[in-house]
């Protein structure tokens, strides 16, 4: 559901950037469309080299000098003092204007490495107030001190910390300083470039919670560039998946996590570890290789699935995929106890069941994606819920939302031995 009364902050349309290198031109990103609304968090996920950072460096005007913008626009919406909205194309602005009006003041960035992003020779107070100094946002030194002290308190440090040097802080504290440096300018948009990747998990949680609280307080929009999907699920409202410079899928968090359509997204989601050990044991990480999958991103178009869920696919590929089923989860776990021999899951695809001594079972899909007859798709499982018993069959599970052809109401596993299941 397109929420047209939400306010756009940043709108990237059909952006393509190429790098000139010694080895020839390298496509960084192609045809990227991103919308960012006020006060929400958009996460852009993808592996290294997928072009995540390039997109937003273009918005900040800090692209490398050997880059060419082939096409596209980045529209930034702002308000004049009297409240009337105005838009400007950031790609067409001169560097001087971007530096004076956009950088720091309207769009700020937080970086990945907390050790390297702070100047080791400057005191923390100087680092935080750097934006204020550049844009002359204070009248006298007392006001500057006050602003620095306020923002330090807000991010969870003490005002006395302003006199210390970065090397006297821990990683999480340095990242807070980085956040303070971005926030003191009160920007409308903060680009967080993998800002929690270098921290340990408990500190990640602290920093992310801090960012969420600050977002509630100030209404800043976040662009979260990440590759940790479980964290992304926690904080983001919408997600965009980048692969090899193409935006393969976008949508809200629920849409993407409940119904990932693109095989790359599916492989990413299947790689998320589950906290429950039994479930985790049966989790199968789906593999996806761009070349072997026979997919060509260049011929795909941006297809609308439902709501705000878009995927990059050709028409034929889309026709082969199922439409989204209401509710249901895609991946879960089924562990087979006992020693089932052969069986079929009535999903429309067939699976062979092979017993193993540990009591788990292995399902060998044939004809399905990701596995061949020779190579089992590991301890993979399909989940679901119990459905009513059917005479003559062992009860298994209702399988819902599987790719393939799933009869609503689930299927069953016909097999000769006992099997029980663990809910996913």
């Amino acid at each position: 559901m397109e929420n047209t009364n939400r306010e756009h902050v940043l709108s990237i349309r059909d952006l393509s950037i190429t790098f000139k290198t010694g080895a020839g031109p390298v496509n960084a990103i192609r045809g990227v469309n991103i919308d960012l609304y006020k006060g929400e968090t958009l996460a852009v996920v993808g592996e290294s080299g997928s072009g995540k950072s390039v997109t937003f460096k273009a918005a900040m005007g800090i692209l490398a000098s050997n880059s060419i913008v082939n096409s596209g626009s980045i529209t930034y919406t702002y308000h004049h003092n009297d409240g009337t909205p105005a838009t400007v194309d950031l790609l067409k602005m001169k560097t001087k204007d971007i530096r004076r009006h956009i950088n720091g003041k309207r769009i700020a960035m937080i970086f990945q490495d907390p050790m390297a992003c702070l100047n080791p020779r400057k005191k923390v107070g100087e680092i935080i107030a750097q934006g204020l100094d550049i844009h002359h946002l204070y009248k006298n030194r007392a006001e500057r001190q006050q602003k620095v002290a306020d923002i330090l308190r807000k991010v969870g440090l003490a005002p006395e910390h302003a006199d210390r040097y970065p090397h006297q802080f821990s990683g999480g504290q340095r990242q807070r300083v980085g956040i303070a440096r971005a926030l003191i300018m009160d920007p409308k948009l903060i680009i967080a470039d993998e800002c929690i990747s270098a921290l340990d998990v408990s500190i990640q949680a602290q920093v992310v919670n801090l960012m969420k609280d600050l977002q509630d307080e100030t209404g800043t929009a976040y662009l979260f560039i990440a590759h940790d999907l479980s964290m992304v699920k926690y904080i983001s409202d919408r997600i965009g998946v980048l692969h090899l410079g193409h935006l393969v899928e976008t949508g809200t968090t629920e849409e993407i996590f409940n119904n990932p359509v693109h095989p790359y997204t599916q492989s990413l989601l299947s790689a998320i570890p589950q906290p429950a050990p039994r479930t985790e044991r049966g989790r199968l990480a789906k593999t996806y290789d761009y070349k072997q999958a026979g997919v060509d991103y260049h011929v795909g178009k941006r297809q609308h699935l439902e709501g705000t869920h878009y995927v990059l696919a050709t028409d034929e590929e889309l026709a082969q995929r199922p439409s989204a089923l209401p509710g249901g989860r895609l991946y879960g776990t089924l562990v087979l106890y006992g020693r089932p021999k052969r069986g079929t899951i009535c999903t429309g695809g067939t699976f062979h069941v092979q017993s193993s001594d540990s009591g788990g079972g292995r399902l060998w899909p044939d004809g399905g994606r990701g596995g061949t007859a020779d190579r089992p798709v590991r301890d993979h499982c399909l989940s679901g819920r119990r459905v009513q018993r059917q005479p003559g069959h062992r009860q298994m599970c209702g399988l819902r939302g599987l790719p393939g052809r799933v009869p609503a109401g689930g299927g069953c596993l016909r097999q000769q031995q006992d099997a029980s299941l663990l809910g996913g």
């Binding site: 000098s65 530096r99 956009i102 390297a116 100047n119 080791p120 934006g131 550049i134 006395e160 040097y165």
Partner: protein, 354 residues
């Protein structure tokens, strides 16, 4: 009262039985600020490391002494550096208190065709109350005064030219390194052309145009020596240009020159100062070399090099005349080198990370 108490003993409370009112906030402890590590500055660490290097500290003390003597020395003897007393020429060193011990009493050993004999110029000329602490030269000028006057001139030339080199070379190297691209290419080609011209040629050509003097020597030194500093500045800038804090400054809207001089320069000031200290003995020696060759400070002014040049002629007959300027110059160069070495270790960034 928590409803958990209503659960009969022996049964396990399930997670589903817990409710928010079963939990009480124990309290939030305030931030604990340590006071031990409040503000450990960069220079504080540098000073600490420098002071633990004994050789560098001794070198610094000696330099300070020599500079003090260069400032105060010429006034101590009561004689002018250029006034000639031809009747008192070629006198050996004679120091008031030490002469009673048998050394520095005006004796010198003269080797003649018939053998070595000891001659005392003071006794020959009946100068009982005249003391030349370092002796007098072939024109009857006091070597003590001339040595310290020469040290003053040499140090002056060295420091002025080193300072100009530092400023010029640093700015040039930083700008060339930061902007890169064709700016860097052009600037480095200019450097290479400059580097290809030998120093002696530069000085000679310069002397055709300008009269010899203090400023000419400084100019000659600047033209040939600024390249070293610019190389170091450029190398450091290339290292730091891609650091994330520089990128962070750019995203905050800092201009190029602001980044060069406020972000990057404080990080490389250590290397710059070290190179400055290294360039001073180079300048002293170069000036001495030029004076020795005859292209240096004109008479009657003296520098350490010109003193050595003049005393060279009477080296075999009156060796004491060449010793003071050589000792002073050697001490200066050695001490500056040791000081620079100590500074380089003190500024060493590898020890910086904690």
């Amino acid at each position: 009262m928590s409803h958990i108490e209503s659960i009969p003993a022996g049964s396990q409370a399930r997670i589903a039985d817990l409710r928010p009112e079963d939990f009480q906030l124990r309290g939030v402890s305030g931030q604990h600020l340590d006071s031990n590590f409040a503000s450990q500055g960069y220079w504080h660490d540098v000073l600490h490391r420098f002071l633990s290097n004994k050789g560098a500290v001794v070198a610094l003390i000696l330099i300070v002494l020599i500079v003090a003597m260069a400032l105060a020395g010429p006034g101590m003897s009561g004689r002018d550096y250029s006034s000639q007393t031809l009747s008192e020429k070629n006198l050996a060193p004679r120091i008031p208190v030490l002469e009673d011990l048998g050394i520095f009493n005006g004796d010198e050993a003269m080797t003649t065709t018939t053998g070595t004999r000891v001659v005392n110029g003071y006794e020959d000329k009946e100068l009982t109350d005249t003391y030349y602490w370092f002796g007098s030269d072939t024109l009857g000028r006091d070597i003590w005064t001339r040595v310290w006057e020469g040290a003053r001139v040499s140090l002056g030339i060295a420091i002025v030219s080193a300072a100009i080199n530092m400023t010029l070379g640093m700015c040039y190297g930083l700008i060339s390194g930061y902007f890169g691209g064709w700016v860097d290419t052009i600037m480095q080609r200019i450097v290479e052309i400059n580097n290809g011209i030998p120093r002696l040629v530069v000085v000679t050509l310069l002397l055709l145009v300008v009269k010899p003097g203090f400023t000419t020597i400084v100019l000659a030194l600047v033209i040939t020596e600024w390249i070293n500093m610019s190389r170091i500045a450029r190398a450091e800038m290339l290292k730091l240009k891609e650091q994330e804090f520089v990128l962070a400054s750019r995203t905050l809207g800092a201009g190029s020159f602001s980044i060069i001089f406020k972000e990057v320069l404080p990080n490389i000031i250590g290397q710059i100062i070290t190179q400055l200290m290294f360039s001073i003995p180079t300048a002293i020696f170069t000036e001495a070399f030029l004076s020795f060759v005859g292209l240096g400070i004109p008479v009657p002014q003296c520098s350490l090099g010109s003193l050595i040049n003049e005393a060279f002629n009477s080296f075999t007959t009156h060796p004491y005349q060449i010793v003071p300027p050589i000792v002073v110059m050697s001490l200066l160069m050695l001490c500056f080198n040791m000081l620079a070495d100590g500074l380089r270790e003190a500024f060493d960034p590898k020890l910086k990370e904690m």
